[in-house]
Symmetry: C2
Subunit: 193 residues, 2 copies
């Protein structure tokens, strides 16, 4: 029944794999590199996670849980819903200004695999909707509490904020101007007034 116990922690390995895919993308990350950095043999990798694409999907799911989890937690914090949305924009701005800013695994994956792999495409679409819905819900609550004018379209606003976040994540990989995110997010904040 019970065989030889694992010598590695599945979560730690998945976290490292996620980081690698995050930094380099799916195609540019090789199995050798993965097993090197994760400090486990190739075969152990295949035993535990399946083939490369299966591993990637699990890493992507982990990213989704972590990041979207943080986002939802932030937006559902007690107090002012609109303040929470503003806090999200602040967090993006701070993150963007980090010199080690490395983009977003979700967006990178959309660009690299969005049209090529239908299964991953559907997954990414779902993640996008989760993000949008979390922002939408916060905006709706802001309207209910009178923080946000009732004549605003919260769905359109949530989508705009989502797009802005994704756009900043890609552009941040090449833009040299340090005030880019500040300018863009200042405009976004004006939409919430």
């Amino acid at each position: 029944m019970t065989g030889r116990p694992r010598e590695f922690d599945t979560d730690t390995v998945l976290e490292t794999a996620m980081d690698l895919f995050w930094e380099q993308g799916y195609g540019a990350t090789g199995i050798a590199e993965l097993s090197d950095r994760c400090q486990i043999g190739r075969q152990s990798m295949y035993n535990a996670f399946g083939d490369k694409k299966a591993l990637f999907v699990q890493a992507l799911d982990r990213y989704s849980c972590e990041r979207l989890g943080m986002l939802i937690e932030l937006l559902e914090a007690p107090g002012s819903p609109l303040g929470n949305v503003r806090a999200l924009l602040d967090a993006w701005e701070a993150n963007w200004s980090d010199p080690e800013f490395r983009g977003c695994l979700m967006v990178n994956s959309m660009a690299e695999l969005g049209v090529r792999d239908a299964k991953i495409k559907a997954r990414l679409d779902r993640m996008l909707q989760k993000m949008e819905d979390a922002i939408y819900t916060a905006l709706r609550r802001a309207q209910e509490q009178g923080e946000l004018s009732a004549d605003r379209d919260p769905r359109a606003l949530a989508r705009t904020i989502t797009i802005t976040g994704q756009g900043l994540a890609v552009v941040g990989k090449v833009a040299s101007s340090p005030t880019y995110a500040r300018d863009v997010l200042a405009t976004t904040r004006r939409l919430l007034e």
Copy 2:
């Protein structure tokens, strides 16, 4: 002096190569595939364009000239500058709704190569600035002609519109909702009122 003449048109080949990189990305596009679709031998490819990365850079430059050229042309059209900006947003919306929408080579390249290749990164940064500047100039002219309120920050607005375009280009590769671009661009248009 003059040797055997070329049997192919350099522009046509470059256009085809650009399309391939556009659809599949840099890493996922092989030399064999390129020479197949371009209908020329590998060696002819290497003779005419250099190695793979050099070919890609030329394809990227071509994309930049074509697309940014169209964008600038649209924004500098005679008549209302603000109307031209609105026309740009309309064009994006129409483009996005196309079922064969395939994103944008610029954004795809940012995601795939933005942090890995410094030379390409600088090139993409320059393209981004060109795009931003074209929109900025149109907005400035709109202000001079009194179409756009003078208290708006045209730089921030131009960057916001740029980010929105890039964001839509990535998200469009996976988003299933057909009203996404409409919602986002409606919000963007409100910024111009």
